[in-house]
């Protein structure tokens, strides 16, 4: 079955936008034209973790990576490398961009992304060949309590951002007595700058199908739902195909592996609401209601979807499960820090040289991630700040680059959140960045509670005034106090998290923000000041 040479095309959402499909078709037709289809295989795979503004291609057995940016590049690779055996150095990806530079003590550790970029996500056979569905077969021979205890022992924590112990969630759902239970996969990935879940859903969809089925067996549920961003068309397609193929192969549906256990998974698209990422809001939305969060307790493990006990886990959390079942809790605990075990998938973007994803053991530092794996700051500019964990995460300056990042590092002023790493260079202005953050909160607030609905708008208005040169000296203090009040008194995680980005931004860039107010100057040259009209200024002051 194996051919002499394999050409792998990365066809994840990012590469598709760079023309992956067109290039792949061209390569296939070239192979066919030259009657080489018996010795050369052209296959699709998920992301290799880097993009370089082109389509990454891997050639085996040489194990070389090229990035093609035009059809001409594809022709050159075919004619030079494949026909003549000469490496096209112009298009070669330097090895430094593939792996860590010397500054990192870590190697990329792929527990979650192990299959991504190596198998064809549309092929259940390839997944099975990589130990796929073995964990399910093992789990079905265990008692549900045994599975739960392995997960508890592993120390796995929720990868959606909150870091709740996964095993405990499973145990609570297992212990809830009910005629009906549900397993939900939270694939409503909406935290700006986070694209790890999309990558898993599109690069290794069977891992989620397998993990959900294991979860169903472990907690005593027969029905699973994947609630997925409505805008993620490609992911919806891939996961649906995986479900259909698994059902056809008897790995999903009734009487799986002859164990007597039956499980069904249904995909449901969302419709555009960030707040639905909250687990109880997601359940409301799935029930066909507006996605406003519920009061907790009761927790979903007791009273979840349609009032029944429900286990809800993030995509990345679930992707860890098959690996843990096969390799055991101790192997998993070998990675990570004392209180945060395993790995974390980081999405690297913004003004960073190599945008993409990297999976590292918990406890890596931002310096290792940004300079070791991300290739440093793009276009040789200076680092101004990094926002970690998504829009609801902390802003840090260069002085915090060496703090190990895990679920506990928030107390050192750096949050892990969803694993987003947004690099921002010195061309950007802190006030302008703050405005974007506040606008995001204002736009996404569901309106249920007053502090979040009204408060986020007030913060935006104050920052907007500052950015236009109409700020007053007490505005900074007011924003500071207001973000504390909103986070103390909001109903759900959305409003509660606003203190992280706003306060860390104010703390780190007070001088720059003050320059906008006192000296009427935007040091980065981003903000456009408007002339102060006394009448308007008065009106604004009154309304605030």
């Amino acid at each position: 079955m194996s051919k002499i040479m394999t050409v792998l095309f990365s066809v994840d959402s990012n590469s598709l936008l760079n023309g992956a499909k067109e290039y792949e078709d061209l390569m296939k037709s070239l192979v066919k034209e030259h009657n080489m289809f018996e010795i050369i295989e052209v296959i699709e795979t998920g992301s290799f973790g880097f993009y370089e503004n082109g389509v990454p291609i891997q050639i085996l057995p040489e194990d070389l990576y090229y990035v093609a940016k035009s059809t001409g590049d594809i022709r050159e690779i075919f004619e030079e490398h494949i026909l003549k055996g000469r490496t096209v150095s112009r298009l070669l990806v330097e090895s430094s961009k593939l792996g860590p530079a010397n500054i990192s003590k870590f190697k990329e550790t792929k527990l979650v992304l192990k299959n991504i970029g190596t198998i064809d996500p549309d092929s259940i056979e390839e997944y099975i060949a990589k130990d796929g569905y073995r964990a399910l077969a093992m789990a079905l021979k265990m008692r549900p309590e045994e599975i739960v205890s392995i997960l508890k022992d592993s120390g796995l924590r929720g990868r959606g951002g909150a870091g709740f112990p996964t095993g405990l969630k499973w145990e609570m759902t297992l212990k809830s007595k009910s005629d009906k239970k549900y397993v939900l996969c939270n694939a409503d990935e909406g935290e700006p700058g986070t694209f790890k879940d999309r990558l898993i859903l599109e690069g290794d969809p069977h891992s989620i199908v397998e993990a959900m089925t294991i979860a169903g067996y472990a907690v005593g549920a027969q029905i699973g739902y994947i609630y997925i961003r409505g805008e993620y068309y490609n992911s919806i397609q891939k996961i649906q195909k995986a479900i259909d193929d698994a059902e056809r192969s008897g790995l999903l549906g009734s009487n799986i592996f002859g164990s007597g256990f039956s499980f069904k998974i249904t995909v449901r698209p969302g419709a555009g609401a960030y707040v639905v990422g909250d687990e109880t809001a997601l359940m409301e939305s799935l029930e066909g209601k507006v996605g406003r969060p519920r009061l907790k307790p009761p927790y979903p493990t007791e009273y979840g979807l349609y009032g029944k006990p429900t286990l809800i886990n993030n995509v990345e959390t679930l992707a860890n499960v098959p690996w843990i079942i096969i390799n055991g809790a101790d192997a998993f605990k070998a990675y990570g820090t004392e209180r945060s075990k395993g790995t974390k998938v980081f999405s690297l973007m913004g003004n960073i040289a190599n945008r993409g994803v990297v999976e590292l053991p918990m406890g890596a530092t931002m310096r290792e991630i940004i300079y070791g794996f991300g290739g440093g700051i793009a276009k040789g500019r200076e680092l101004k700040m990094v926002q970690t964990g998504g829009t609801a995460g902390t802003f840090i300056r260069a002085d915090k680059l060496d703090i190990p990042v895990d679920y506990e590092s928030t107390r050192n002023g750096i949050s892990i959140g969803s694993g987003a790493v947004l690099v921002i260079d010195d061309m950007n202005c802190a006030v302008d960045i703050g405005k974007k953050v506040a606008k995001f909160y204002m736009y996404e607030s569901c309106g249920k509670c007053t502090p979040c609905r009204e408060g986020t708008r007030e913060i935006y208005n104050l920052l907007d005034e500052i950015s236009k040169g109409r700020g007053k000296p007490d505005y900074i203090q007011r924003i500071y106090e207001m973000s504390k009040e909103i986070s103390d008194s909001s109903f759900c995680g959305l409003g509660q998290s606003i203190n992280m980005p706003i306060m860390t931004l104010l703390d780190n860039f007070k001088d720059e923000i003050e320059a906008h107010i006192g000296a009427q100057r935007c040091p980065a040259g981003v903000c456009e000041f408007e002339k102060v009209k006394t009448k308007d200024a008065k009106k604004t002051a009154r309304s605030i």
Partner: protein, 160 residues
């Protein structure tokens, strides 16, 4: 009315199995938009309400709460531009400017010829190639003002 019959048929087509009815409502609204100018008009809302035995007010609430739905008819092509921070720091504001200039409309508006509606979307999860926008189901990345112009032009030509 063809569209109405079509909608009823498609709602039936959304897999139900032993599922509760509620979780098919959002999917039904998506289907509705495919049939009714990218929107959920009142006549369609009434059909969905009947079908799921809920009040039409609830359908209206859903259609106005979720950003992917609209109660007003939208253009043939829906342009959704990401305004999140990751796209903003890599030149997103230039793209916003260019799109508004080129289409001569603001966010939430439809061009006079009914070809395009411009909307803001939250993060599309393709930040590896930001700034990004989505036209209907198709995403476009690594945008520059020049690229935006070309893309819009190609859609205009496709309509002729």
């Amino acid at each position: 009315m063809d569209k109405v019959e079509d909608l009823k048929k498609r709602i039936k087509g959304i897999e139900s199995g032993e599922m509760e009815k509620g979780d098919m409502i959002l999917s039904s609204l998506h289907v509705t938009q495919e049939l009714f100018d990218n929107s959920v008009p009142i006549e369609a809302a009434k059909i969905i309400a009947d079908e799921f035995e809920v009040k039409v007010e609830r359908i209206y609430e859903l259609a106005t709460f979720y950003s992917m739905y609209s109660t007003k008819p939208r253009g043939n092509h829906l342009i959704r531009l990401c305004e999140s921070l990751p796209c903003h720091v890599v030149g997103g504001s230039e793209i916003v400017k260019k799109l508004k200039e080129n289409l001569k409309i603001d966010f939430g508006e439809t061009t006079k010829d009914g070809l395009f509606t411009l909307e803001v979307t939250s993060c599309l999860g393709i930040c590896g190639v930001g700034p990004v926008m989505m036209i209907d189901g198709e995403a476009y990345g690594n945008l520059t003002p020049e690229k935006v112009e070309e893309i819009i032009k190609s859609y205009r030509e496709g309509e002729k």
